[in-house]
């Protein structure tokens, strides 16, 4: 069955006498040989009308299950009738193989599904899933707050050890990248402002621009998006892998609440990390603005920069920026955990859920930020 070079191609002869056909085969009937005769053989068999098959396979030099299957196909015609069959000549091994293959042919395989029908059902399923998903998300948020308040009433039930470990992972380890990114953004805004405003001879207003934009919008949103991309995928992958290996089921059976063990610590870690990271981002962005103002050809000295910043940018801009971070934190943690828990057995679903998780989290962060902007605007803050 291994070498094609010295094997003889499969040959066959079908002869009919009465209601019995004799299937005489010779040559090599293996997986590697049968491809070319597949069509022709099944067409010939379909054209015949018979009640029983006799196999003469004594001259078959090599036979494997695929070859035996080609024989056995004679046992069942397209109309699905079963016929009697018998190996009239052949070795015991060959008999066994034909027997096994014929048994298999008797067990009717399921019909392949229709393509258009499939895509239609998929569309219906997708829309149904979207609605169920929305309802589930809301239910998940509700359940989270119930568990969180229950735990806050008894702080000893909170798993501080994992909160601390997760805070290190989500917060501390992300600090360099958050600060670097905010530094670049701050510098870009500063340059942009300096360029635009110098045409009016008002380049000192770039301080206002940097201050307000970084504190109020950029630092919080950049941090949140970064953490959404960084930690959300991690949450989903971690919890999803646990789900796949039935660790979640084991927890439930052992009386551990998955919300208490997995979701709440992550949410708390995000709640601790995000404001701190945002604060660091703000500092870094402002610092970048100051550097550009000083060294970027505007000759605004650091002292002048901070004096102006103090004068025109109110503290409330800082608080507005900070006020948003807890909301972002909850959004990020809950979406990541929820998608992780929604993973089913397959790796595909793990991949899909991780993608969904990151996309949803970034989308939600920006959407919520827009709502906040609208809200503050209406309130005149």
């Amino acid at each position: 069955m291994s070498s094609n070079s010295n094997s003889h191609p499969p040959e066959y002869e079908l002869s009919q006498s009465g209601r019995i056909i004799t299937f005489r085969a010779k040559g090599s009937w293996t997986l590697r040989d049968i491809g070319p005769i597949d069509e022709a053989l099944s067409q010939k068999l379909e054209a015949l009308d018979y009640d029983a098959v006799h196999y003469d396979v004594a001259d078959v030099s090599e036979l494997d299950t695929a070859g035996a299957y080609m024989f056995a196909r004679a046992v069942r015609t397209a109309s699905g009738e079963c016929h009697e069959w018998e190996v009239i000549a052949g070795s015991t091994g060959q008999r066994t193989l034909v027997q096994a293959a014929a048994d298999a042919v008797m067990g009717r395989p399921p019909e392949p599904t229709r393509q258009w029908y499939d895509s239609l059902t998929n569309m219906g399923r997708a829309s149904e899933r979207f609605f169920l998903e929305s309802i589930d998300t809301i239910a998940f948020i509700g359940q989270f707050f119930v568990v969180l308040f229950k735990m806050l009433l008894r702080p000893r039930t909170i798993r501080w050890k994992s909160v601390v470990a997760l805070t290190e992972e989500i917060g501390l380890n992300a600090a360099p990248i958050v600060m670097t990114l905010c530094f670049f953004i701050g510098a870009v805004i500063a340059y942009l402002g300096a360029n635009l405003l110098s045409t009016f001879g008002a380049s000192v207003f770039m301080v206002d621009l940097v201050g307000v934009s970084v504190l109020r919008e950029l630092a919080p949103i950049i941090t949140a998006i970064l953490i959404a991309g960084r930690s959300d995928s991690a949450f989903t992958a971690q919890i999803g892998a646990m789900k796949m290996r039935q660790e979640i089921d084991a927890m439930t059976v052992l009386g551990l609440d998955t919300f208490e063990v997995l979701v709440v610590p992550r949410a708390l870690a995000c709640l601790i990390s995000l404001p701190i990271l945002t604060f660091l981002g703000m500092m870094s962005g402002i610092f970048a603005g100051m550097l550009i103002a000083w060294l970027g050809g505007l000759d605004i000295s650091p002292i002048l920069f901070f004096a102006r910043l103090n004068e025109v940018v109110e503290l409330k801009q800082f608080w507005i920026g900070m006020a948003k971070t807890p909301f972002f934190a909850i959004i990020i943690a809950l979406i990541g955990c929820r998608q992780g828990l929604a993973v089913t057995g397959s790796v595909d679903s793990l991949g899909a859920r991780t993608t969904t998780s990151v996309v949803q989290a970034i989308f939600a962060v920006i959407a919520v930020d827009a709502v906040f902007a609208l809200f503050f605007f209406q309130m005149g803050i």
Binding site: S3, L31, T65, V105
Partner: protein
């Protein structure tokens, strides 16, 4: 250069195998070969390195020392292409089934067929369905995903995939664990039938004493980091080693033996 398999050559031979994880030596000076056309049962306590031995023989783990030959070819000396070809001669059922979770059972079985043959897709599908039947899975399982299968069904599906290319050598890692007794017996018989028909050489890692009694031609014992004995079951039972005596002297063993004799 295409690989010519001489079927009369010894299918698999391992000499002086040394495997270790860090300083933890698993096998030392291990010699082992599979006689052609026979079913060799490999027994040994849990954690003695049966699965590691299988991985080493398969080339998934490089041994720290020793030599492995398939059909007379040293695996090391083969080109990548020849190794690929050699792999079509080896079917493997891993301990956990190792099915691709993103594919249905039928698609799983079609993977080796797609990779190594150019049959029409319809025929591949039919061949896959035949293998599904041969391992005793219901026809409906063809379109199920591995996550929808029970542990025993996963094993059967994995076996079906390992048989897809009609290999010369079959490695089975605890195939009957997780099957119900009826299914396990049917499985044993299937292995015997396939061996007879396809001239299979089988390495069967098992804890199932019934399988040892009914199916295996020879039994290999992995103790003290090497294969202590490879012989017919009565001789192995008579082998003077505390672990072997305990293994075959236990009540389960005696029950299986008396059942096997009747």
């Amino acid at each position: 250069m295409a690989l010519k398999i001489d079927k009369t050559a010894s299918p698999m031979e391992a000499r002086g195998i040394l495997t270790q994880f860090g300083s933890n030596v698993i096998h030392e000076d291990l010699n082992f070969h599979l006689p052609r056309g026979e079913i060799v049962g490999l027994v040994g306590g849990s954690g003695t390195g049966k699965s590691v031995l299988m991985n080493t023989l398969l080339g998934l783990k490089e041994p720290e020392g020793g030599m492995i030959r398939y059909f007379g070819y040293d695996r090391e000396e083969l080109s990548a292409e020849q190794r690929f070809e050699l792999n079509t001669q080896i079917g493997v059922l891993f301990q956990g089934g190792a099915l691709f979770s993103s594919l249905t059972v039928r698609e799983n079985i079609m993977v080796p067929l797609r990779e190594h043959t150019d049959l029409p897709v319809k025929l591949m599908r039919e061949l896959a369905d035949m293998k599904i039947h041969m391992v005793g899975l219901p026809p409906q399982s063809a379109t199920l995903y591995p996550s929808d299968l029970s542990g025993g069904m996963k094993k059967r599906a994995g076996l079906a995939r390992s048989l897809a290319l009609d290999p010369e050598i079959l490695f089975l890692d605890e195939p009957t664990a997780g099957l119900d007794p009826v299914g396990a017996n049917a499985f044993d018989e299937l292995i015997l039938g396939l061996r007879e028909a396809m001239d299979l050489t089988v390495l069967l890692i098992t804890h199932d004493l019934d399988t040892l009694y009914t199916t295996c031609d020879k039994v290999a014992v992995l103790v003290d980091k090497h294969i202590a004995i490879v012989d017919s079951l009565p001789k192995v039972i008579a082998y003077e080693h505390p672990w072997v005596q305990e293994y075959f002297g236990g009540p389960r063993s005696r029950a299986a033996l008396s059942a096997g004799k009747t």
